[in-house]
Symmetry: C2
Subunit: 387 residues, 2 copies
């Protein structure tokens, strides 16, 4: 899909994106460089991508009619989130719509149990897990009898940013954990003693190309990714294992576009798949300034079947720190001028109301090494956050 040349008139390729949050917002910025016409399926004119000037259709991601309208305008349909019913994606594919990623890849990102089974059956390392049935307490206790306490309960679908996950230290904590998860379909997992968490971000083009970014070290606080740095400091064997796993996962689910594979690294060097996303991802935000080609450019290139861009770092290291709405209710944007005084920091604001704990922006910095980059980004993000 390279745009169509007819009678001298050029038609820009059209990418339809379901969702209009900050990922669509930054994809829109990239689309401008490439002359791609991005159309987003938005909920409101106040959505971050619409405020950035992306062309918008309005509708719900679970409304077949809205998805069909988007597909009718677009050469390919893609996503800024995974909250779209998989059967609707299957229908789109059935009616001949190019969807990238496709329903199979989306399902692996949407359904944690299906993903665990898929990866496990393919011989890829995942934490020990089991489905939790109607007799939840008994299933959890049997699992713990085999694998030990603590365990982790996860909602099979719909969880993000720490929601839908409960840590259970011992049998007495099961009831509280179950009630916090409010009757969701669950799986139970062995708790992994982490040496660190890393992510491998890669682009996989519908033309068959695959290109991975340098491994990212992620820091989760209260289940939210708050900081990342590239490259992660890893033994070369661990790094290779992480990249091999990501490649295997991408091929297995048939991802197209960006895929983020979040990984647990144990002190022993064992690497386990945590979860995946098949869209631009928070763990890739530092690629905007940090890499030759950002994840947003590469997502567009990949879903359009175009050659992928160079994923290498432009400098020794890059770091990103998220900006969250603070408990004090002060909008981080009101502190922007002070934050911009931090030399070397690049601020990205999402034009979102600063509800407490909500991601409303991020800060990137480059450095000769990750700690230098992290320090710069932290200093700037702290000012925005009122620290």
């Amino acid at each position: 899909m390279s745009g169509v040349e007819s009678a001298g008139a050029f038609r820009a390729p059209v990418v339809g994106m379901v969702g209009a949050g900050q990922l669509a917002r930054m994809t829109h910025q990239a689309s401008v460089d490439l002359g791609v016409d991005l159309v987003v399926l938005a909920k409101s004119p106040e959505d971050p991508a619409v405020l950035a000037g992306a062309r918008a259709l309005y509708g719900r991601a679970d409304d077949p009619e809205a998805l069909a309208r988007l597909a009718g305008l677009a050469d390919v349909v893609t996503f800024d989130h995974e909250q779209v019913p998989n059967d609707l994606v299957v229908s789109l594919e059935g009616s001949g719509v190019a969807v990238a990623p496709g329903s199979r890849a989306l399902n692996a990102a949407q359904d944690k149990l299906a993903a665990r089974r898929l990866f496990s059956e393919a011989g890829l390392d995942v934490p020990a897990f089991a489905q939790v049935g109607p007799d939840a307490r008994s299933d959890i206790e049997s699992f713990a009898a085999a694998h030990g306490w603590p365990v982790v309960l996860k909602a099979r679908t719909g969880g993000y940013d720490g929601r839908g996950v409960a840590f259970v230290a011992e049998p007495s904590g099961v009831d509280a954990a179950l009630s916090s998860l409010r009757g969701a379909d669950l799986l139970v997992e062995a708790h992994v003693e982490l040496a660190c968490e890393v992510a491998v971000l890669a682009a996989r083009s519908t033309n068959g190309e695959y290109a991975a970014y340098p491994t990212v070290a992620t820091l989760q606080e209260d289940g939210i990714c708050t900081q990342l740095s590239m490259p992660a400091s890893l033994d070369s064997e661990v790094r290779l294992r992480a990249h091999d796993l990501a490649r295997s996962v991408a091929d297995l689910v048939g991802a197209t576009g960006i895929i983020a594979v979040e990984l647990f690294v144990e002190a022993s060097g064992t690497v386990l798949i945590n979860e995946i996303a098949v869209r631009p991802h928070n763990s890739g935000h530092a690629t905007i300034e940090g890499c030759v080609t950002s994840q947003f450019h590469n997502h567009l290139r990949a879903v359009l079947g175009w050659p992928l861009g160079d994923t290498s770092l432009v400098k020794g290291a890059a770091a990103m720190v998220n900006v969250l709405g603070g408990a004090d209710g002060v909008d981080p944007r009101s502190r922007l001028v002070d934050a911009l005084a931090v030399r070397g920091a690049s601020v990205h604001l999402y034009a979102k109301e600063a509800l407490p704990g909500r991601k409303v922006g991020h800060v990137t910095a480059l450095g000769d090494d990750p700690s230098e980059a992290v320090a710069t980004a932290r200093r700037c993000a702290s000012i925005l956050g009122g620290a």
Copy 2:
């Protein structure tokens, strides 16, 4: 101007930009990062910035009513081109509108004769020059008698991309040169034997800060800047002289926002001011990928009186090559997929119809040294241009 916090509601700062070409398009991309609300005064919904999603008012840059409407929406008015009558800018200032750059700086960019006089009177080096009066042939011949042939004729206002300039090798060429310039008000200048042409781009904030980018080597072909590389390879003395001149010019004209000072460097090491622009400039396009803070981000920061961002290179060198509409009439966008296969190149398309010789995009590349960066950018731009 940091946006206004009242009753919990945050209002984004509004920048009004006169013009909606590719400079406004790239300023719009930067405005999204900073949460700045950019409103452009556009001629048509097909203008590059409007197609990128910038909020638009429609009107002419020489229509006082249109400028007043823009000013009424904006915290500060700025420009993507200089084709706005200076008296209208003076009027805006007189009515209390914040305009950055102001009329004094704009005038130095608009009126080559006024600029030459201003700089010359301040003791800054410029080529020998004289005004050409109604008896043009006689004025030109007297000038040449004093300074020698060849000479260069320049339209006092309105010239760009090689238009409004005529090289005159000898007396017999005067008539043809005059007729090519079609009765414009002219100045005549000594022809400078160039060792190279360079530009110094800098941001000057309304808060008083000043930050210059690394010196840029520019290559002009048929009067159009077709290629640039950073840093320019210059003796440190010449580099310092270039930067001193740029700083003096910026202070002298009271520039706010980005100022580009184009300079002639003679083999002797003498540095002469050629011309200036007081807006984001073609010679700064490589700052998007090449520098920590792009000229577009720094333009917004400067006109809003915010702290300026780090202007240093992120890697050893950066280069940019313009993409022009070709004589064959084939739209470079139809060759994008092949061009994207050039590893390390970043393509920026302006969504403009590819008229022959028109700038319709540019390609940036980074490298350890300028020649490596230039080679990558050239390879990609050549494919887009059909070479």
